[in-house]
Symmetry: C2
Subunit: 214 residues, 2 copies
DNA sequence: ACGTCATACCGTACATGTACGGAAAAGATT
DNA sequence: AATCTTTTCCGTACATGTACGGTATGACGT
C-alpha cells in the first residue's frame, strides 16, 4: 500500500504543477509573453516566489511546459490531417509545422532556438528528439514514402534533412520578419517542394556515425 | 570649423565605444560568455554601470558589437578563400559559415537566433541583411554561378534558399548537440551538396512580393 | 566675460531570476 | 504515541539589466 501513497503523492504534485502551468498560460494570455514572471505566477497561485521552484527547475522549465502543450496540439493537428499521397502527407507536416512556428514564435523559440542547459525534466536529449512525437510522425511518414517507392534511403536521415530545411526556413522567418522573403507561405512552400523534389532523386545514406577516419 | 569640433567629438565617442567593446571582448575571454555583465564591464573601464548606456542601447547592443567583430573575420576568411569553380566557391562559403557557427555559437546565436527588438545601431533590418557583407558575397558568388551557367534563376532567391538551408543546419547542430546527426562536418557537407545539386536542376524564380491574390 | 544649453557621467531605485538555509508539515519507523 | 526523516514551502539575500532624474563640464551665442 505504500506504493499507493507514493503514487498519490506524485499525482498531487503533478496536479499542482499543472495548476501552475495553467496559471502561467493565463498570465501569458493576459499580459503577453514577457508578462510571465516567477513572482506574478507565484502570487497567482498563492505561493511564495521560491515555491515555484519545487515544481520547476527554473523559468526555462516553465516555458518548456507551456511550449509542450502547444506542440501537442500541433501533433494532433498533423495527425488529424492525413493524406492519401505519402508525399503530400509530408507536405502537410511541413505546412502545419511552418504555420505553427509562425503562429507561436515564442513556443517555437523555447523549444528549437534556446540554449539547452539541461534536458527538461530528466529526459535525455536523445529521447527528446527520437521520442519526440513530431519527429516520430515525420519518420513514419518518410517510411511510408520509402515503402511506396517515392523516396529512397534511410528514413531517419531523410527526416533529419527535412527537419533541417524546415527549421531553417521557419527560424529565419521568425528571426528576420523584415527580410524580403516575399510571401511567407510561398517561401515555405518553395523550400518544401524544392527539398522533396531533390530528395526524390537521391538514395539517402544513413547519417554517418562519426567515421573512424576523422 | 564647428564641423571639426563635431567630428572630433564623434570620433572620441566612437573611440570610447570601441574601448568598451575591447574590454567586453577581454571579459568574455577571461570569464566566459556569461561573465560579461554591465557592471563588470563598467568597472573595467572605470565608469559607473549606467554610463555604459551612453554608448550602447542595451546589453544586446554590446553583444551585437562583439558578434560583428567575429563575423568580420569570417567574411575575411571567406574572401581569402577563392575557388576556380564557382560552385566550389559556394561550397567554401557554406563550409566556412558552418565552421564559424560551430566555433562561435554565442556570436552566431546573437546575430541569427535572437529576437530582434531594434535594428542594432540605427541601421534598418533591410540594410542589415541586404547590406550585410556575408549576404553580399553569397549573392555575388551565386551570380557568378548563374553567369557560368551552373545555376539558373534569380540570384537573391537562390542565395536566400542557400541561407535557409545553411542556417537550419548550423542552428540545429548548435541547439541540439546531442541529437545523433552523426559527424557534424559530414552532415554539413551533405546538406550543402544536396542543396546545390537540387538547385542545379531548377530555374529559380524571384521571391514573390506578397502577390495581390493573398 | 557671462548666461544658456547640450552632453557625459553618475546615484539611486526597481523588477527580475534564483541561491541558500530554515521552518513546518506530513509520513515513516520504532 | 514518540521520534526521526522527508517533503514542502518560505524569508532573505544577491546579482543583474535598466529606468529615471540629477549634476557638472565644456561649448556657444551675446
Amino acid at each position: 500500500m505504500q506504493l499507493s501513497v507514493q503514487t498519490r503523492r506524485e499525482k498531487q504534485k503533478a496536479e499542482l504543477r499543472s495548476e501552475l502551468v495553467d496559471a502561467a498560460h493565463k498570465l501569458v494570455q493576459e499580459e503577453g509573453y514577457e508578462g510571465l514572471t516567477i513572482r506574478k505566477l507565484a502570487k497567482r497561485v498563492g505561493y511564495a516566489p521560491m515555491s515555484v521552484y519545487s515544481y520547476f527547475a527554473d523559468k526555462q522549465d516553465i516555458l518548456f511546459a507551456l511550449a509542450e502543450d502547444a506542440f501537442e496540439t500541433l501533433a494532433k493537428r498533423i495527425e488529424d490531417h492525413p493524406a492519401d499521397d505519402p508525399i503530400e502527407a509530408l507536405q502537410v507536416i511541413m505546412t502545419e509545422y511552418a504555420a505553427f512556428g509562425l503562429g507561436n514564435p515564442n513556443e517555437y523559440r523555447t523549444v528549437f532556438m534556446t540554449e539547452k542547459t539541461r534536458p527538461p525534466e530528466g529526459r535525455t536529449f536523445a529521447e527528446m528528439q527520437e521520442g519526440n512525437p513530431l519527429m516520430k510522425v515525420l519518420i513514419s511518414r518518410v517510411e511510408a514514402c520509402v515503402a511506396a517507392g517515392r523516396l529512397k534511403g534511410d528514413p531517419r536521415a531523410i527526416a533529419t534533412m527535412l527537419w533541417a530545411v524546415g527549421h531553417g526556413t521557419i527560424s529565419l522567418l521568425i528571426t528576420f520578419p523584415f527580410y524580403p522573403f516575399g510571401d511567407q507561405q510561398a517561401f515555405v512552400k518553395r523550400m518544401c517542394d524544392f527539398t522533396l523534389a531533390g530528395l526524390a532523386t537521391q538514395d539517402v545514406p544513413p547519417l554517418t556515425e562519426t567515421p573512424a577516419n576523422c
